[in-house]
């Protein structure tokens, strides 16, 4: 009935994407990352960038856990003084993107073949040298991974991925203003 000590999963661990609006102050990233490591939560991916208003940043964090773990993560994040808002992005309601730069071995003999694959994926080639090309691909994780798989036979020299960012579809927002009106009052401590 109690589900045992916290940390024990109920077997329904899945991937969650959470969007965290924070005050943009020095050290805020280490506070967030430190909370995860101290409490034994794993981060799959974390991306930080400026939010819609100066002075605020938004982090997109991807983690794997069950509902209870997710709830603890959200509550513990809320306790950080510089965290303004934490929201889970429902996979059915969000747009999620990642960008990857893939450096592939390529010469005259196979460049055309690579270009073809890139076109099919609506990706682009952003740099060409006698022995390499750099492919830029944007999309959800599946797309990025499929692209990587197809390029692998040519010989991948380097991959750089941004990690995933997400936003809710439609008018709903977890924005700086949305949040002063509602939600905030119920949390904290």
């Amino acid at each position: 009935m109690f589900g045992g000590a916290f940390g024990a999963t109920d077997g329904k661990a899945r991937e969650h994407t959470i969007s965290v609006l924070v005050e943009n102050r020095p050290g805020v990233l280490s506070r967030v990352a430190g909370m995860f490591s101290r409490r034994g939560f794993n981060i799959d991916s974390i991306v930080v960038g400026a939010a819609e208003e100066p002075g605020f940043s938004r982090m997109t964090i991807v983690l794997v856990g069950d509902e209870r773990e997710l709830e603890q993560v959200q509550k513990q994040l809320h306790k950080l003084i510089e965290v303004i808002k934490v929201s889970e992005l429902d996979p059915a309601e969000m747009v999620e993107r990642e960008l990857a730069l893939i450096k592939v071995a390529a010469d005259r003999t196979n460049r055309a073949e690579i270009v073809q694959i890139v076109d099919i994926f609506r990706a682009s080639i952003v740099d060409v040298s006698p022995h390499t090309v750099i492919v830029e691909v944007t999309g959800d994780v599946k797309k990025v991974e499929a692209m990587v798989d197809l390029l692998r036979p040519f010989g991948i020299k380097e991959i750089v991925r941004t990690g995933r960012v997400g936003v809710l579809r439609g008018p709903k927002s977890s924005g700086v203003h949305g949040d002063r009106r509602r939600g905030l009052q119920a949390v904290g401590g």
Binding site: M1, A5, E23, P26
Partner: protein, 590 residues
Amino acid sequence: MAVSAVDFGAAAAKRKAEQPAQAPARRREPRRMLGAQALVEALKAEGVEYIFGHPGGAVLHLYDALYDSGLKTVLCRHEQGAAHMADGYARATGRPGVCLATSGPGATNLVTGLATAFMDSIPVVAITGNVPRALIGRDAFQEADITGITLPVTKHNFLVRSARELPRVIRAAFHIATTGRPGPVLVDIPKDVGVEELDFDYPETVDLPGYKPTYKGHIRQIMAAAKAIAEARRPLLYVGGGAIASGAHEEVRAIAEKCDLPVAMTLMGLGAFPGNHPQSLGMLGMHGTAYANYAIQNCDVLIAVGARFDDRVTGALDTFAPRVEQIIHIDIDPAEIGKNVIAHVPIVGDCRTVLSALIEKVPEKKHPEWWAQIDEWRREYPLQYRPGDTEVKPQAVCEAIYEVTGGEAIVATDVGQHQMWAAQYYKVHGPRQFVTSGGLGTMGFGLPAGIGAKLARPDKEVFVVSGDGSFQMNIQELATAAEHNVAVKVAVLNNGYLGMVRQWQEFFYQRRYSDSRMWSPDFVTIAQGYGIKAMRVTEPGDVRAALEEARAHDGPVVIDFQVAREENCFPMVPAGGSNSDMLGPKGWIE
């Protein structure tokens, strides 16, 4: 002294009220001053009375500003002592304690004290110096990344990047430390910020958009709790430190009496309900009373107030409270709810505010059958020890302290068997009177915390119950007590062992007393060396007389009680076991 910091809201309101009606709020003229002076002014504005600290290169500017500031500084002999004194001051009053240390080793010496305060949610503001801004990150002499180091053991911390920020940061530090779930906050001030000029204007409000603690409980949840309590047949009130932090002791008593609830307290909750009240079951958990643990294991409605289902309380979670049907969990920290156990009725809010609302909604009730059962447990399994004819029993000393002080003294403890005996036999009557390191279990806490408590409450008698091991972890603070004639009465329960370690080795390691037997110096001579009155007690018949003599003395006293060496602390739920299975003096309690 100026206004107290906890009353800041009220003080601010008063200041506003004093302004002429209708007149537009007059803006105070900012004053030009140095960073160090600004810190002093800010501390004064917060109503700070004492600063517990130790100077060094990086805080010379700050100490210089303090020199003729009117604020009282207490020179501690080790920064850990300073942190614990600030902590003891806070526990005894509810007002934030302030400590101050230099960069590098001074700052790192505070860490144990901050972690202690953090685990027990105590409002402490720690100020550290750091190397000048231009040297930060260059491994300069006595540089330590103290904001990085203390990240996981503070509620929040700040690195002040310019003198201009100081008023806002200090205001925020005190606000964060004292509101919501209280906790320690550290402010790191690079040396050159102390001599940078600024226009000082102390803010009345804080701008912390991400920080808004919830005080009022949700009415629907409160109604659900009232219903569960009304329908309970075997209710139990489980009270933790949060009840003391929120000042809910009167409400705890009111609801307990209205609904005829038995009350069990955590180590941190002792004093939230009078220990001598007929409805008190004393402490629960690993060294709790058998009847409190049986009550937990048999209750149908468990009302947790400001408690966090710590493993020392619950034992093995899957065996905890097996007959419970409804858990009501009241806590100001939403993250505590659902962390260890899932509550049926979670209520996020301030314990006092929530309880006052709840009291209105619950009907008066009596539980004669439940009490008959509990009274039978009380008769059958009382808290007991075999009195010594020739030996001084440590439990008897705690009992005697209770009797001579009538349970009205503040008792600060160290960590070990003596701590548990003090918790069991000093049936503390009121809140903020039992000062102990619960969450972190920090040996060396007792003496400095007792000094802080005594300075905070000069009107109160303060006893420190210590062990021969713990006492030596901050024994240097005897100098601080002597210098300021702080009248703490230190009862050292000297058993020649790290007793709690020895007890575990006796039970779980075949009596292989690996480094738990301990040689100690002559504590009487040591105390006298500090110019402190000291006594040694070896006979059971002399215990009371020694305590009375200590009470009568106007100044600190150390009493070396040579107690039974291999006494064990019972009852005991072995770690990871079930609260239903307790060891007593005669083996497993049936």
